[in-house]
Amino acid sequence: MTVSTKRGASQVAVLAAISLVVVFVLLVFALRLPQVGDSENTVRVYCASGVAQPIESIVQRFNEQHNGSVIVVRTGGSGELAGQIKTEVVTGIEAGANVYISADRFLVQRLEETGTVQETAVLAFQTPVIAMRVGSNAPWESLSAVLNDPSIKLGVGSSRSAIGQATRSMAQQAGLLEVLEKQKRMDAENVMVLGQALVSGSVDVAVLWDATITQINQAHPEDVVVAASDIDLGGSANVARDSITASLVMSNNDKEQSRRFLKFMTTSQFASDQLVAAGFTVNQTEPAAAVDPGF
C-alpha cells in the first residue's frame, strides 16, 4: 500500500508538472505569435463598423509610409464604441482608445461637450437610401410606399445607431414616424447588422447608408443589394445625411502620433480614394440643414 500510494502521489506531481510546462510553452507560443505592433506610442483606433473596411486599408498605408503604429482595436456601432470610450475615460484605462471614428455626428457633438473627445475632423459623408436585394422587383420608390404595404418586412437601425437616428429623423419630417415604429420588423444595433439581415433575407427592405451597399457588394462575388431609391422627402432627401468623423480621445497619451494619423486621413489622396471606393462622398461641406433627431 505504501509503495503504490507513493507511486500514485508522484504520478499526480508529474502530471501537475507536465501541465505546468504545457501551459508555459503554450503561453510563450501565444504571446510570440506575429502580432501587429503595439507599444507605448501605438495609436489605438475605435472605428464604426460601417467605415471599418476603408479605414483598415488607410491604417495599413499610414503605417507603411510613416513608420507608424496605428491599430484598429475595436469595430462596432458608433454608440456602442462611444459607450466604451466613456467607460474607459471614467475608469482611466491606459490602453483605451486614442482615436474615435464615428458615423454619428450628434453623438460626437455630445462627446465633445463633455470633453471626452476633441479636435474632430470630418472624413466623408453618407446618405440614407432604401435598399433591397438584387432581383426584388417591388416598387419601393419612397419611404411612404414601403410603409403603406404591411406585407413588407422593413428593417431599420435602432434609435441608438446613426442610421436608426437618421431614418427616424426623416420619418418624423415626413410625419411617418408613428407608422415606421409600428411597421418595422427589426431594430438593428448597427448598419452592418441591418445590411446582413437584408442580404440573408430576414427583411425585404432596409434603410441603409449608400456606402454600406457598396461595401456589402464588395464583400460578395457579385452585387447582392441595391438602392431602390433615395428617401423621398419632397426635395430634402439629404437632410439626414451623416458625416464620418475622426476625433482624438481626451485620455490620449500620444496626441502627436494621433494627430499625424488624423491629418493623413483628412488630407491624403490615398485615404480619399479608399473612402470613395467604399461608397462614401468626400470633399463636401457639412450639410447645413441637419436635424438633431433627439431620440
Binding site: V12, V28, A30, L31, V36, Q53, V73, I93, A219
Partner: protein
Amino acid sequence: MNRSGNRLFWAAMIGCGTAYLLLILSMLLADFQYVGWDDVKTSLADRNIQYSIWLSLASCTIASIVSMWIAIPTGYVLARLGRDTIERRLQQRPWLRRVALFTRYLVDTVLDIPIVLPPLVIGISLLVLFQSPAGRWCDTVVHSITSAIGISQTRGVTYEVPAVILAQLTVAAAFAIRTMRRTFEQISSRPEQIALTLGASHYQAFSRVALPQAWRGGVAAFTLAWARSLGEFGPILIFAGTTRMKTEVLSTTVYLNFQMGNLRGAVSASLILVTVAVVVLIVTRMLTLNRNQRGSIE
C-alpha cells in the same frame, strides 16, 4: 392498448430529441449551402484567420488546463464537504453547523456566478477590476515578466493576449468546477476512508484513490472548459478588444467579418469553428468511453 401506449411514449421521447437534432443539422446544412468549399479555403489561407486559429487553440488549451488546476481541488472540497458531512461532523454544535452550511451555500452560489451572468457583464467587471490598483499592479507585473522573457509586444493584460485567456478562464473554470464536483460526489468516499485508516495521508488518499476514479469526469470537465473557451465572445470583446492579428480568436473573426459586411467570410469562419469543436468533442468522447463501449461503436 398497453403496447400502443408504450409505442406512443417512445415516439414522443424520440420525437423531441429528433426535432432538436434536426434543428442543429439544418443550421449546419444552411451554413454549408451558403458558402462553398472555395470560401472555406480562402478563409483558411487568410493570415488573419490563421492567426485566430492558432491563438484560439493555444488560449483555449491554456484556459482549460488552468481551469482543471482550479476545478479538481475545488470540486473535491465541495463534494467531500457536502451538506451531509457538515451535518454529521457538527451535529453537536448547531450554531457552527448553520454557519458552515450557509458558507458552503454561499461559496457554491458565488462559484456559479460566471455561469449565470451575461458574458458582457464578466467582460465589464474584468475591465473595471484591472483598472483598480491591484489590477494595475498585475498589469505591470505581467509586462515586466513578458519583457524579461523577451516578449516586448505584450504590454500587460487589458487588450492583450493574456486578457483573452483570462476572459476564457473566468467562464470555463466555473463549468469545470461544476463537472468535477458532480464527479467526486458520485465517487464513494469510503475507499478513501479505508486508505486513511491504513495510514495514508489525505493527499495520498486523494491522489491514489479518489483522483484515478475521477479521470473520466476530469476529461469531461476539460472538454467542457475547452469548448466553452472556444465559443467565448462577450468578455473577450470588452476586455481584450477585437484587434486583428492581436486579440483575434475564431469567435472574434466571425464577429469582425459580420461587422464588415462579409457574411460569407463570417459563415466560413463559423464552419471552421464548428469543425474544430466537433473534432475535439469526438476525440474526447472516444477517450472517455471504456473499451466495451468503444467496441460497440466500432
